[in-house]
Amino acid sequence: MRTLYFLLRKEFKQIFRNKALLPMIFIAPLIQLLILPLAADYEVKNINISIIDNDHSAYSRKLLKDITASGYFKAVGYGNSFQAAFRQIEQDQADLILEIPAGFEKNLVKEGAQSLFIAVNAINGSKATLGASYLRRVVEDFNAGIRLSWMPAGNDQQAVIETVSSNWYNAFLNYRFFMVPGILVTLVTMICVYMCALNIVKEKEIGTIEQINVTPVKKHLFILGKLIPFWIIGLFVFTVGLFGIGRLVYGIVPQGNLLLLYGFLSLYLVALLGIGLLISTYAETQQQAMSVAFFFMMIFMLMSGLFTSVDSMPAWAKFLANCNPVTHFIKVMRMVLLKGSGFADIQFPMLMMVGFAIFFNTWAILNYKKTV
């Protein structure tokens, strides 16, 4: 026990004496947590539309007014030629082109049908679909209005289905509520894995690990001495992020049991540190450790459901995502923080996390050799 105490003191001294490292551990993540959620917003608004009105009739003007009044669209050009509008798409100034053909009003009334041309910049597929469907909705409403105005009076008793939609757990659809827990998890993950992996490899590279190897310090004590400081740092950064920034800045009031959340976090950190340790046992230099850690972190992050939904993945990818500890913690964070889910709801991720913790740590310890 005394040995462990001295080892821990050594580690903490090393960490706190590194003046360049400290801000990276404690300040950078919090700044990122302050800024990044503001940037993560999928909601599509401000769609730039370029309009070509070849008709210049009362109807076409009414339609254009409806479009700009809908709030989704910003008209960036009224032109006469498709060429000029297309140029705007090429330069990313416009997302959509709406062309109203000549004779729009006349044909609509006389022939009973008239088409409209809409061209969408579809490089970003989901944005294009949304933009097109918003525009279609505006056109449909406009169309319904016209029909109504031509309908004989007295015939307007129509069945109406009223839909009442409610958004539970996040009534104002605040995207930040969704992103902050996820980003906090990624930041804690990155710090713990990198720091843990690099710390041990650094001793290898500088050669000080040999000095420890020749002492009677037991293997498990040395490893514990390396893991515990980062476990504590992880807890600390998480707490500051959750209460200091999540609660105070973004107003996320944890709905669920905090004890449950911290229990899960403690397990999660053990699993993470196991990964860091494992990387360090395979790497010879810090550069290697870093590129390996970076490679896996990148995959872990992308597959975690932080940016894109795990449910939307094909089956093989979903399986991979389930083998990723980050996925489970992000899910649990969102469930417990936002929905107030209880222990029964997170049993499966909890079990998986115990599995990860045992698996990675056992592998790492088996692979760690005290000899050179």
Binding site: M24, A28, I123, M297, M335, D345
Partner: protein
């Protein structure tokens, strides 16, 4: 010159004798392309919708069968109480609930007014809005059909054409982003670490006291990563055309020329980091913590830049990958020439000069 080539050779040996790092250098773009091409999508699929049909009449059956048409969502019916709904939401089993009250059809036919409730799990706002608007549009179209006997011509038919990406593939948007991400991170990380490493191990001192121009030492360090990055780029382009069957519209030469500029920008950023730090750990943490997430966020391929608060849009302008992303999109997907990208290129050039000037100023031939 002979000195320089032998230095470059030394650096290549450094790189090639570390197969683990090398593997990751090339494994990363392949993995990213596969993930972004096949696994990650912004679309909402496989969402679970539950319909609580208390009415069990013609109208409710009609609506349910219409909802089931979409393959993207799995619809199942079950009568749930409010508490049961809540616990299913909490366990994450369902994402949307549609409650159809009793006497739905009767109300619709006789009172001409019926109510329907949609409850979404808005802890994920994106899924919630998508699902709600899907359900809403199904119900609206059903309602339109009910009224169809009123239809009196006057039909506007919107003809929609999806430019550049008619199949609406996610890869078209992601691949240029992956290129920007990989090139930037690889260059910044690798150069900064390999320079700081020599500092840390003390070999830098040996190099600095040699008669060789110290600036050349640094440039020689960057050469292998420049070459490797170009290879990486070629690999990504080949994979995206071959594996993801993405079209390549523009000039390959132009893409590689501009990419070289971008790689140099990234290398000079790495140089700056290495000149400002003394330990590998710090250099890595700055390059990773400081760059990985911001690059992902501010490049614009995951989240639309125009939605961000103005202050962040200004910050995004300082991220080189944002400009490169726009260049790649213009060349690869839109097939435009240099006239369309001169502004972005100029900005990258300016950034490179700026970064190089600072790092040369900070470069010390003496160790502390």
């Amino acid at each position: 010159m002979k000195q320089f080539t032998s230095f470059v050779r030394k650096e290549f040996y450094h790189v090639f004798r570390d197969p683990k790092s090398l593997l990751i250098l090339f494994g990363m773009p392949i993995t990213l392309i596969v993930l972004f091409g096949f696994a990650l999508t912004n679309e909402i699929k496989n969402a679970r919708i539950v319909v609580c049909d208390y009415a069990r009449d013609a109208a409710s059956q009609q609506i349910i069968s219409r909802l089931s048409v979409s393959n993207n969502f799995s619809i199942h019916q079950s009568i749930m109480s409010h508490e049961e709904l809540e616990s299913s939401f909490k366990s994450g089993n369902i994402q949307l609930a549609i409650v159809i009250p009793a006497h739905f059809n009767d109300d619709l036919l006789h009172l001409k007014h019926a109510q329907l409730q949609i409850i979404a799990d808005a802890s994920d706002p994106n899924t919630a809005t998508t699902l709600t608007s899907y359900a809403q549009s199904v119900i609206n179209s059903y309602q339109q059909e009910l009224r169809s006997y009123h239809k009196s011509g006057l039909q506007i038919i919107p003809e929609i054409r999806m430019l550049y990406n008619p199949e609406l593939k996610g890869a078209t948007n992601f691949v240029p982003g992956v290129m920007a991400l990989v090139l930037l991170l690889v260059c910044v990380l690798m150069t900064s670490v390999s320079i700081v490493r020599e500092k840390e191990l003390g070999t830098m001192e040996v190099l600095l006291v040699s008669p060789f121009n110290p600036m050349m030492v640094i440039i020689a360090k960057a050469v292998p990563y420049f070459v490797l990055s170009l290879l990486n780029l070629a690999l990504i382009v080949l994979l995206s055309v071959g594996l993801l069957s993405m079209p390549f519209q523009g000039s390959v030469l132009l893409l590689f020329t501009v990419s070289s500029l971008f790689i140099i920008t990234a290398l000079s950023l790495g140089l700056l980091i290495s000149n400002s730090t003394a330990s590998q750990q710090t250099a890595m943490l700055i390059s990773l913590m400081g760059m990985l997430i911001p690059t992902m966020m501010f490049t614009g391929f995951l989240f639309p830049l125009e939605n961000m608060p103005v202050a962040l849009q200004v910050i995004a302008n300082a991220v080189p990958s944002k400009w490169y992303y726009s260049i790649v999109k213009s060349i690869m997907i839109k097939g435009l020439g240099f006239s369309a990208i001169w502004k972005e290129t100029l900005i990258l050039l300016g950034m490179t000069i700026f970064l190089l000037t600072i790092s040369f100023k900070k470069f010390k031939t003496r160790l502390a």
